[in-house]
Symmetry: D2
Subunit: 162 residues, 4 copies
């Protein structure tokens, strides 16, 4: 069965505006990454929003949960900004069961060339296919349960809380 | 517990000789990839050989099996040329049990920039951490059991046999 | 005779801080670019400052002029932020004669992979070796005389004024 | 006035066939490079052939000379394999005068990411705009007169003969 991929934005999909020197969102780079990875997993891709996760509202999270519940697939990958990834994981876990949901993202925009995005996407798709039902964060090659993960703001790495 | 990574060569680690126009092996690019992926999985890396998998002998495969059995870790990732990856998987499966072994590689050398290697490594490390004991091939974002996989020589993609 | 290269910063040498999402300066990427270009021009490299050109002061420009006058070489390339590149060119031209000085930079940081920096450096080194004495801006594959150039802030391209 | 760009192939434009592991030609990467360099030089591009320069015949060289003579522009850049670049330069110089012709190429295919091609193109376009009439090779950031250049087959670098 297919894996559902939901796009929400985050550093993963940021672009560099060479006129202003600012980062901004245009289109997702998901298709380029799947092509570069010669990915043959059957996927259904849908962009839900294109925002910095620091600006994600309760309404935005409700939309994500709603989409996770509604979609036919029971294996879901969500690309998400790293700053509030664990918060969104928590909200999904509290409102949905019976599916494997894996949130992932990147510390370096994919467009910058030396991004961790391709590595993270590879691991997230793998975890989505192999982990039991539940909500997880996949970063730094590891997976974390939604109730035991936070981003270390000093190092940028994800860690267990307990 | 740590994941053991064994390097055996393959397109994954090939370099381009700009004088002769030939591909050749020097050092593995594993450390660069793990750094690019901001990988925080505890890994133990050992290079067993640096060869094109078309030139892999029975003795070479015995060495790989021996190393898989001897190492302390029970989660193992092996980078390997794609041409005979499924053969090596078979040999390992026939001689060893009780560990999760994931073979992976690349269609494009990592040094070429647009390689599938980083994606494959991300998924291989994830599968090694999450799949039950057994021997698998991880390519194209998917995992295959050792007794049900072959490389399609026309497309370069891995497929189920049955 | 050698070409002198002076580094002053600018987008050319900016890095991306993956923790804060901000751009910052660390070391110059000049050596990496010269190596990538297999450059065999004899060069003498000196970093004068590492700043955004919007923050460049009169004193900073005096330092650049002083270095241009003092150095032994009479072919000089200066990497510089694009925003005030033409201002610095004007100051140099008004205070120094008898050398070929070429200012260049980048719209995209070199570290981002798809930068124009390598192209600009190639053209700047070429112009420094082949143009008569004078002060020039080399951007977009073209060269401009110091008294007839400005950056179009809408397009990011350099244009003749007259 | 515009610069004429003639494409003849060479390592510059080679692609990697991931099924066979062989290098081959498809389309030129000239447009991608000009875009990456934010090039605003007015150019007219024409592909004359797509071959390894070791396979270039006298007839091929006659075609190149003919095109150099016929085209309206008097500033010409030719991308060419490095192995016989100096031979072609010689043939052009012996049959044509009154234009600035600059041959360039790459040691690493552009598609491999860490290519010298963008640097070489930047310098070739600059030399074509600034050098007096004559036939030149532009490699390694330098320019060479057609009658004083050869490729060092040990180092891959271009050198003066005399």
């Amino acid at each position: 069965m297919a894996v559902r991929i939901f796009i929400t934005g985050g550093t993963f999909d940021k672009e560099y505006n060479e006129i202003t020197g600012q980062l901004f969102f245009k289109d997702t780079h998901m298709h380029d990454l799947l092509e570069m990875g010669r990915c043959r997993v059957q996927v259904e891709i849908r962009t839900l929003m294109m925002i910095d996760s620091l600006e994600m509202t309760d309404e935005d999270r409700d939309l994500i949960v709603h989409q996770c519940i509604q979609c036919e697939e029971n294996k879901i990958v969500i690309t998400h900004g790293t700053d509030t990834m664990s918060e969104t994981a928590k909200v999904i876990a509290q409102k949905m069961t019976g599916k494997t949901v894996v949130l992932t993202g990147a510390m370096i925009p994919i467009k910058f060339g030396s991004s961790d995005g391709l590595f993270n996407l590879g691991s997230a798709l793998a975890f989505a296919q192999s982990l039991p039902h539940g909500v997880y964060v996949a970063m730094n090659g590891r997976f974390f349960h939604w109730d035991n993960v936070s981003k270390n703001k000093q190092t940028g790495m994800f860690e267990e809380v307990k």
